[in-house]
C-alpha cells in the first residue's frame, strides 16, 4: 500500500513538475500570437500555396518589424492540405483544437475550403480566404445563429462570369461567343454565370461544349464551333487544358480572342499555348499597373524580397493577413471577438484599405471588389487597354 502511495505521489510530483516546466517554456510563447495559414504547400498546386505564403509572410514581417501587435509578435503557422478536401478536413480539426491559433488565412482551393468550413463554424474560429471563389461557400459559412465564420476578400465565380460577359459585349463589342467549360463545379458555375448574363444582355451563345480534366484533343468540339463562326471563345476551366484549347483553336483556323477567369491565370498558360495564347483576356482581382500609389510600395517591396513580380494571390493573401492582424490588434487575440470585428466591416467606409483596394464584407462574408482585365500580348500578361468598372 505504502509502495503504491509513494508511486502515486512520485507520478503526481513528476506531472506537476512537467506542468510547471511546460508553463515555464510557454512564458516565452506568450509573447507571440499565432495565426494559421492553411494552403497547399506540397502537391500539384504547391506553386499557388507558395504565392499565399509569400503574401502572408511579407505582411507578418512588416508588422513584427514595426513592433508587433500590442507588444506581441505575430507568428504564422503554415498548415499543408495539398488542396485535398480530405487533408483539409484533418487540418481544420488540428487548427480548431489548438487554442493558440486565433484565426485563419485560407484555404486556397474552394473544394478544400468547403471541406474545412463545418469545423470552423462548429468550433468557432474565423477564416479569411484570399482565393476561394466558389459560390456555395456563401451557403455554408454560417452557424445556427446566422453568424458568418468564413470571409473572403476575393470575388465569387458568378461575379467573374457575369463580368466577363459584360466585358465581351460592352467593351469588346463582340456579338457571338462559343463556350468551352470543364465538367466540374468551377467550370459549370463560371459557365452558367456567363451564359445567363449573356442571355440578359443579348450576347449570342453559339455553342456550349464540355470537356473533362486531362483531355488532350479538343479538335472535335472546335471543329463544331468553327461552323458557327464565333467572335470569341470563352474557356471556363484551368490553364492546362485552356492552353491546349487555345493552341488547337488556332490550328483549326479559329483564331479569335479567348476569354477566361482566374483558372487561366498562370504563366504555364503562355508556355504551353505559345503564340496561340495571344489575345486571351482574363479577370484578375489585382493588377500591379492599376493599383493605387499605396500599393506601389508593396509591389516594389515584394519584388525586392522575392525577386519576382507580385501575383494576385500574394496580394490578396497580404491583405487577408493584414485584416486578420488588424482584427487581433483592435479586438484582442480572442476567436469570437476577431469574428465580431471582421463581421463589423460591413460597409465601404468601415472597410480595410489594403493594396488590393477597399476590403469589406456583405452579410454573407463576401466582398465587393472590382475585377480587372488583363490580356496576353506578345507572350506576356499585360493589363488590357480598356478596363470596366
Amino acid at each position: 500500500m505504502i509502495g503504491k502511495g509513494l508511486k502515486v505521489a512520485a507520478i503526481t510530483l513528476a506531472a506537476v513538475g512537467l506542468f510547471f516546466g511546460a508553463s515555464a517554456g510557454n512564458a516565452q510563447a506568450e509573447d507571440v500570437i499565432k495565426i494559421a495559414v492553411a494552403s497547399p504547400f506540397t502537391g500539384k498546386l504547391a506553386g499557388y500555396g507558395d504565392n499565399v505564403k509569400a503574401g502572408v509572410a511579407m505582411k507578418v514581417d512588416e508588422v513584427n518589424v514595426a513592433g508587433g501587435v500590442n507588444g506581441k509578435k505575430i507568428e504564422p503557422v503554415y498548415m499543408d492540405e495539398q488542396c485535398e478536401p480530405r487533408e483539409a478536413a484533418t487540418v481544420s480539426t488540428k487548427i480548431a483544437n489548438d487554442d493558440e491559433l486565433v484565426g485563419i488565412v485560407g484555404h486556397l482551393c474552394s473544394s478544400a475550403h468547403l471541406a474545412a468550413l463545418p469545423t470552423y463554424v462548429r468550433e468557432g474560429v474565423a477564416a479569411i480566404t484570399p482565393t476561394a471563389t466558389n459560390v456555395s461557400i456563401t451557403d455554408k459559412n454560417k452557424d445556427e445563429d446566422g453568424k458568418v465564420w468564413s470571409f473572403r476578400n476575393v470575388y465569387r465565380d458568378d461575379f467573374q462570369g457575369k463580368f466577363l460577359a459584360d466585358y465581351a459585349q460592352k467593351v469588346m463589342g463582340l456579338k457571338k461567343v462559343a463556350v468551352f467549360y470543364e465538367n466540374n463545379d468551377y467550370g459549370i458555375g463560371l459557365k452558367d454565370a456567363f451564359v445567363n448574363e449573356a442571355k440578359d444582355i443579348g450576347l449570342d451563345i453559339v455553342g456550349e461544349e464540355a470537356y473533362k480534366s486531362g483531355d488532350q484533343d479538343f479538335t472535335p468540339q472546335l471543329t463544331k464551333f468553327k461552323g458557327d463562326k464565333p467572335d470569341a471563345l470563352f474557356i471556363a476551366g484551368y490553364y492546362n487544358e485552356g492552353a491546349l484549347i487555345a493552341d488547337q483553336a488556332k490550328k483549326v483556323g479559329l483564331d479569335v480572342p479567348k476569354f477566361g477567369a482566374d483558372g487561366l491565370d498562370n504563366a504555364d498558360y503562355i508556355t504551353l499555348a505559345g503564340a496561340a495564347a495571344d489575345n486571351t483576356y482574363l479577370t484578375a482581382p489585382f493588377l500591379s499597373d492599376s493599383a493605387g500609389p499605396e500599393a506601389k510600395k508593396f509591389i516594389d517591396g515584394f519584388k525586392a524580397k522575392y525577386g519576382r513580380e507580385v501575383d494576385w494571390m500574394s496580394a490578396n493573401a497580404y491583405d487577408a493577413a493584414g485584416m486578420l492582424i488588424d482584427a487581433i490588434a483592435k479586438a484582442g487575440p480572442d476567436r469570437a471577438k476577431i469574428r465580431e470585428y471582421l463581421a463589423s466591416l460591413d460597409a465601404p467606409e468601415k472597410g480595410y484599405k489594403g493594396v488590393t483596394g477597399n476590403n469589406y464584407f456583405d452579410k454573407n462574408g463576401d466582398c465587393q471588389k472590382p475585377a480587372f482585365v488583363k490580356m496576353v500580348k506578345d507572350g506576356k500578361f499585360v493589363p488590357a487597354p480598356k478596363q470596366m468598372h
Partner: protein, 295 residues
C-alpha cells in the same frame, strides 16, 4: 464539318493504332497485357524533348535516339520484370506490369516534374502547323500529313518484318505455340526481346508525335492513351496485328464523332460503347480468330 471530323478522328486513330500494335504483339507471343506500354509511349515524348534541350540534338536525331532508347527500355522491362515470372501464374506477371507502369510514371515525375511541359516548339519546322490541304470544309495540316505518313509507313514496315523475315516467322511461330517453337530451335527469349523492342519503338514514336501534335507532355499521359489503345487492341482482336491497326482507327473515329455529334463529355463513353458492341457480336474482335484455349 463531317469530313473534317473524320480527318481529326483518323489522326487520333492512327496514334491509337501505333500504341495498340505494341499491346497486341506482346500479348500474341507471351499472353501478357503489358500495362507499362503506355509509359513507354510517355517516355518516348519526354526523352525526345530531353535530347533536344539537353544534348542540343536536331529533331530527326532526337526522334531516332528516343525511339532507340525506348526499344532498349522495353527490352529491359521484359528482362527485369517479366522474364523471371515467365513460368509463374499469369496474374503475377499482370500485377508486375501494373507495378512497372506506376514505377515508370513516378520515375518520370521525379526526373521531369509533374507539371505539363510543352514540346520544344523551336525545334519543329514551322511549316508543320500550316495547312497542307485546304478545301472548302476540310483542312489537313502538314503535321497531320506527317503523322499519316509516319504511322502508315511504320505499319507497312512492321507487316513486312512479321511476314517476310525469319524473326517475324519466329514471332508467329511463338504466338502459335511457344513449346513447339522452342523445340524447333527458336531462341524464345531472343524473339520475345525483339517483340518488346519493336512494340516499344512504335509506342515511343506515337508518344513523340502526340506531344508534337498537341504541344504538351506530362508523366500520366501514358495512362489514358494506354487504356484507349488497349481497348483498340481488344476491339481489333487481341493478338492480331492488322486487327490492332483497324481497331485503333475505328476507336479514334468513333471517339471524335462521339464528341462532335453526341456529347463531348461522353466521348470516351461513346468510344468504349462501340468497343463493347463489337465484342458483343464478335467476341474475338474485328479481325481476331476464335481460338480454343491452349490450356
Amino acid at each position: 464539318m463531317f469530313e473534317q471530323q473524320l480527318v481529326n478522328g483518323f489522326t487520333l486513330g492512327l496514334i491509337y493504332a501505333l500504341i495498340a500494335v505494341g499491346y497486341t504483339m506482346v500479348y500474341g507471343v507471351i499472353e501478357l497485357i503489358n500495362f507499362a506500354h503506355g509509359e513507354i509511349y510517355m517516355l518516348g515524348a519526354f526523352l525526345c524533348m530531353t535530347f533536344i534541350t539537353v544534348l542540343g540534338a536536331p529533331l530527326y536525331l532526337a526522334i531516332v535516339l528516343s525511339v532507340a532508347a525506348c526499344c532498349v527500355i522495353g527490352v529491359l522491362l521484359d528482362i527485369i520484370a517479366y522474364r523471371p515470372l515467365r513460368k509463374a501464374p499469369r496474374l503475377a506477371a499482370l500485377i508486375t506490369a501494373i507495378g512497372m507502369s506506376i514505377f515508370l510514371q513516378n520515375l518520370a515525375m521525379i526526373i521531369w516534374g509533374s507539371r505539363p511541359l510543352p514540346f520544344v516548339k523551336s525545334a519543329l519546322p514551322a511549316f508543320l502547323d500550316e495547312p497542307a490541304i485546304n478545301l472548302s470544309d476540310v483542312t489537313i495540316s502538314w503535321m497531320q500529313i506527317s503523322i499519316y505518313a509516319t504511322a502508315i509507313a511504320m505499319m507497312i514496315g512492321l507487316n513486312l518484318i512479321i511476314t517476310k523475315t525469319r524473326t517475324g516467322t519466329a514471332m508467329r511461330a511463338l504466338a502459335q505455340n511457344r513449346v513447339s517453337a522452342a523445340l524447333m530451335g527458336i531462341n524464345v527469349n531472343k524473339v520475345i526481346s525483339f517483340t518488346f523492342a519493336l512494340g516499344s519503338g512504335l509506342g515511343a514514336m506515337a508518344g513523340i508525335m502526340v506531344s508534337m501534335y498537341y504541344n504538351t507532355m506530362y508523366p500520366t499521359m501514358g495512362y489514358t492513351a494506354g487504356v484507349k489503345a488497349f481497348a483498340a487492341a481488344v476491339l481489333g482482336g487481341i493478338g492480331s496485328v492488322p486487327g490492332a491497326m483497324l481497331g485503333g482507327i475505328v476507336l479514334g473515329i468513333a471517339e471524335t464523332l462521339g464528341a462532335g455529334y453526341v456529347s463531348s463529355p461522353y466521348r470516351d463513353g461513346v468510344a468504349y460503347a462501340v468497343m463493347i458492341l463489337v465484342i458483343l457480336f464478335r467476341p474475338s474482335g474485328l479481325l481476331g480468330r476464335a481460338v480454343v484455349d491452349k490450356a
